[in-house]
């Protein structure tokens, strides 16, 4: 029986995602709910587009065609699995010891934040550890030092960072650090007293490009000291996650930075990994926003870079949505009902005693969800609103076939755009898959 005759009971799943593979005549078909993924010849793809597919057995066996009630049952089951898995997730607890920074990056999203000038005291640090020990008693957890810049020079900063590292170690809690890397080398001794999970450092290109974007407040260059810090961290066997923040001004320098990292031996070190961060407008407009990529535009550019500079993949393998995951693991991840960790697996605390949902909101006035010092309280109504945000609570996601790969995006970005937390921050799932499947699956050759 053809599809048309079968539609009363069975239909094409609403979660099917189909697209034409970039630089190929073939197509891909994917279903994140049933976890199927296939390459289609053009004639078969056309049959699906026209809903004239003659043989439904294979489509049914793979879950691309299924009974509506069965699809709803599967959706509910997967959602329960997702909630259960999220409940057992490790919690990432950010701590901001201060918002001061020694850098003056042109694109800093915290630049407009008001600063409350009071020093981080030992009392605040003790209150922080008391709170997280109590509040997250049954949770696996780690602390990420964030800023501003957590690794500042000077007699005010170092003893406090040391205190945090030591107290975390005493409780068996690992530490991650998000640093600009300028003082990393000088802090390695302090960090060696703790369990260091990861150090995230940013280089925005090779020396001239980086130094033109990420410089000290007095304009002095920073590249060489950061590189020394990365070398030193790797020598001490600390995992390093090198981040590049890119826009149109520096993206063409990425292959050069990749060659630098390869030549330096970083990419051969299993403790070294990379990520690409997009320069984008989180809370406010940037003066020169023509240089910014949207998400799909950035991946278009990365796709071209990889065609022209294959060595780039030795340095960084972009995710292209779930494409890289599918290639690496031979299967799709479980459906992503939620991509916002705020007040679920992520919390952010700062030196003022305030508690925020996540790194995007930490330090932003009006986004507090509680306090750990001097008073201890939680704003349960707001926390519940964050906790309940997922694709089942965002009205716009209900009719979207991409929802189980997109996950509804970032709550903070969505709220900034629409004024509502339960609104979507849509990800360009289909174009990224069209590029990623081509890249990781040999242009979709059958």
């Amino acid at each position: 029986m053809g599809v048309k005759g079968d539609l009363l009971m069975h239909r094409f799943s609403r979660y099917n995602i189909m697209g034409k593979i970039r630089d190929s005549e073939n197509y891909f078909l994917m279903n994140p709910l049933t976890k199927s993924a296939d390459i289609l010849a053009p004639d078969k793809a056309q049959e699906i587009i026209n809903k004239t597919y003659a043989d439904t057995d294979e489509l049914s066996a793979k879950g691309y065609i299924l009974d509506q009630a069965e699809e709803e049952r599967l959706y509910k089951l997967r959602y329960l699995d997702f909630l259960e898995e999220r409940d057992s997730n490790e919690v990432q607890i950010f701590f901001v010891p201060w918002y001061e920074c020694n850098f003056s990056c042109s694109y800093c999203y915290q630049e407009g934040y008001s600063r409350e000038h009071k020093p981080l005291t030992e009392e605040v640090i003790n209150a922080f550890f008391d709170y997280i020990t109590r509040e997250f008693a049954d949770k696996k957890k780690y602390i990420t030092l964030f800023g501003g810049e957590p690794l500042l020079a000077g007699s005010g900063a170092r003893p406090r960072i040391q205190q945090i590292v030591t107290q975390a170690a005493e409780r068996g809690i690992a530490i991650a650090i998000v640093t600009n890397g300028y003082n990393l080398y000088d802090y390695l001794e302090v960090l060696s007293r703790g369990v260091i999970r990861e150090i995230q450092v940013t280089l925005d290109g090779t020396r001239p490009k980086h130094d033109g974007r990420r410089f000290l407040k007095n304009g002095a260059p920073t590249f060489d000291r950061i590189v020394a810090g990365i070398d030193g961290a790797l020598e001490r066997h600390f995992p390093v996650n090198l981040r590049m923040v890119v826009d149109r001004d520096n993206i063409d320098d990425l292959p050069g930075l990749a060659a630098f990292a390869i030549d330096r031996g970083w990419t051969k070190n299993p403790l070294f990994k990379t990520q690409i961060g997009r320069n984008y407008e989180l809370h406010r407009c940037q003066a020169d926003n023509k240089r910014l990529f949207d998400r799909a535009g950035l991946y278009e550019k990365l796709y071209r870079i990889i065609q022209e500079h294959p060595h780039f993949l030795e340095f960084h393998r972009p995710s292209f949505s779930v494409s890289r995951f599918l290639f690496d693991n031979g299967e799709l991840p479980l459906p992503l009902f939620d991509s916002c960790p705020g007040c679920k697996s992520e919390w952010a605390f700062d030196y003022t005693g305030r508690i925020y949902p996540c790194t995007a909101t930490v330090g932003k006035e009006g986004e507090e969800v509680g306090s750990f010092y001097p008073e201890v309280y939680k704003r349960d109504d707001i926390i519940r609103e964050w906790e309940s945000r997922d694709v089942t609570s965002i009205p716009e996601c209900a009719g979207c076939g991409m929802q189980l790969v997109c996950g509804g995006g970032c709550g903070s970005v969505a709220k900034n755009r629409t004024g509502k937390l339960h609104s979507p921050d849509c990800r360009p799932v289909q174009p990224l898959l069209e590029m990623g499947i081509s890249l990781y699956f040999n242009k979709g050759k059958i």
Binding site: F28, S36, E58, K62, N241, K273, N329, E331, C410
Partner: protein, 31 residues
């Protein structure tokens, strides 16, 4: 149709693990 799924009895990979591979500290979620 040629499947992209490898025939193996692997444990389920979770969405969180997927995100963790994308970005271990920040940027995975708000971008």
């Amino acid at each position: 149709m040629n499947t992209l799924i490898r025939q193996k009895s692997a444990e389920n990979h979770t969405a969180a693990q997927c995100c963790a591979k994308i970005s271990s500290i920040i940027a995975g979620c708000h971008d």
